[in-house]
């Protein structure tokens, strides 16, 4: 396996008596975009500040290209990185002055500054803003300037702390797409933290899941999304329905799990008679008025408890003896006439139901 570009080992960070981060190992590889997904207060911003060398961890080692970071090389290595703050601060003066700030503190020669400025301005489409007063920009423009201010430095690693969270939905989608385009076009190594699953899924080549200051899981993005290691990771990754059952038998790659009179087929491995937790993502649940012949192995009859509409979809909660959530388009909800109190059938493919040992300890298992 390729050696890590940036490697953190035995990291523990505390503010006073409170340990906010405890990560035995965290690696960033060259050319990848690593997404760190976690809820508010999970320690993801702290992880980012430590990795980008903005703060020194209470305990632990950080090395960059095999060289350990210390007081001697701390500033030099930090200058190869850029951290994009969640709430960018624009310095008083023009947009151009803001973009050139990082080059100025590095003592970059004038002609090189000019060349980089032009490149970054065209990359982030902000050429027309350069002369403007930095304090008189819209939210979307501020984020673009913020990106340009980072790209102009051509950093070895770009760190982004929830860069889109202050934006409205259309600007956010536009900027995410733009960032994805720029990252891929430049082969930029990037680490970004977010609490939005869609951002992580869209931008991340690899995904690390963080909760309570601990790394729950790390791996290829699609693999992590498909196979959470425990219930906490499953919830963070959007697997909604959780129910406990007892394993009756293992049939090849599938488990037969008993739960309140149901015999459910799920993907996973576990010992017979052991207790497992079952997860399914709401978008993998099929709803119908009648059960029908298909490859779907699990069918549950239930009463509609709640219908929560959002922009194009509706989240439906069904009481099947356990709560089961399904995500449908609004058109399907209309067509099927799904309303609270109605009876409906939910179908779940065995491959979409994940079984994990109940009471799994949080660890750093590879996905």
């Amino acid at each position: 396996m390729e050696a890590a570009h940036l490697e953190m080992t035995g990291i523990r960070h505390a503010y006073g008596p409170v340990t906010v981060l405890d990560v035995p190992r965290f690696s960033v590889f060259r050319g990848e975009c690593l997404a760190v997904l976690g809820p508010n207060g999970s320690g993801k911003s702290t992880l980012l500040r430590l990795a980008s060398l903005q703060e020194r961890p209470t305990q632990g080692k950080i090395s960059y290209r095999g060289e350990e970071i210390g007081r001697r090389n701390g500033l030099d290595v930090r200058r190869r990185f850029v951290l994009l703050l969640q709430r960018p601060f624009l310095f008083a003066g023009s947009v151009e002055r803001n973009i050139l700030y990082g080059l100025n503190v590095r003592g970059t020669p004038r002609p090189e500054m000019k060349r980089r400025l032009e490149k970054a301005a065209s990359l982030c489409s902000i050429g027309h803003l350069l002369g403007r007063d930095a304090r008189k920009l819209s939210g979307g423009e501020v984020q673009r300037i913020n990106l340009a201010r980072a790209f102009v430095l051509e950093p070895d690693i770009l760190f982004l702390d929830e860069p889109f969270s202050p934006l409205d939905a259309p600007s956010r989608e536009e900027l995410i797409a733009e960032l994805g385009r720029v990252l891929r076009a430049t082969g930029q190594t990037a680490v970004f933290v977010t609490h939005h699953r869609e951002e992580a899924a869209y931008l991340g080549d690899r995904l690390a899941v963080l909760a309570g200051g601990k790394l729950l899981q790390e791996g290829r993005t699609e693999e992590v999304f498909a196979a959470p290691v425990d219930d906490e990771a499953a919830r963070l990754l959007g697997h909604a329905t959780l129910l406990k059952g007892i394993v009756e038998e293992q049939r090849g790659d599938l488990l037969v799990v008993a739960h309140g009179g149901h015999r459910i087929l799920a993907a996973g491995r576990a010992d017979a008679h052991s207790e497992v937790l079952l997860f399914v993502r709401p978008e993998d649940v099929l709803l119908a008025r009648q059960r029908f012949e298909s490859s779907v192995r699990n069918w549950f009859e239930g009463r509609v408890v709640e219908v929560v509409p959002s922009d194009r979809f509706a989240l439906i909660t069904l009481d099947c003896g356990f709560p089961l959530k399904a995500l449908l388009t609004k058109a399907s909800v209309e067509e099927l006439g799904i309303r609270p109190g109605e009876i409906a059938w939910a179908g779940v493919k065995a491959s979409s139901l994940r079984a994990l040992p109940a009471g799994a300890e949080n660890g750093n298992g590879e996905a």
Binding site: S52, R78, V82, L85, A92, Y101, V105, R106, R149
Partner: protein, 226 residues
Amino acid sequence: MLASLDPEVARAALLTLKVSGLATLIALGLGIPMGLWLSMARFPGRRLLVSLINTGMGLPPVVVGLFVALFMWRTGPLGGLHLIYTPAAMVIAQVIIVVPIIAGLSLAAFQNIDPLAVLQARALGASNLQAALVLFREARLPQLAAVMAGFGGAISEVGAVLMVGGNIKGHTRVLTTAIVQETRMGRFEVAIALSLVLLALSFAVNFLLTSIQQKGAKAWKPRTWR
């Protein structure tokens, strides 16, 4: 007298500018780094130090004059320097009066800047010193208010310069001490003329600083109902 600019008045006015201007410059060099440091550092006793500086902003000039005189007196610890009754002693006394004003107002100015400014500078690769300079640049407008207050405190002060300068005609006589002298002697018209010169000087310096401070500051007035 004013129209013909009496040489004695001109000399006192020039010395006033020199002494108070130099004292303000030295106090800026000491007070701004002190305010910057206090705005960023956290250590035991910081609150006590800030309280002392805030108290120092209202330091009675005669008390400063007394202690500077005691130090500079021929028999005092610094008597060997022969500074008493020289403009240098007046500058030293005024620096002591002005430093707390500049440090206190600078501290307030720096603390008013969003702490994100420093984080942002570091995030873009600034060293700790470069990040502190960002704070200085962001606070440059309120800093000018500190300069004005400091210079105002120095130029209007009379107690300390009188005690350590001695109001020696042609040597240590400044406008304020001259005004005291003329008033004592009942020459009110001269005292009034000197006061007008002092006010004009003070206004000229402050007008210059205000022009710098207010340059480019456009009023933003929203449309409101009332």
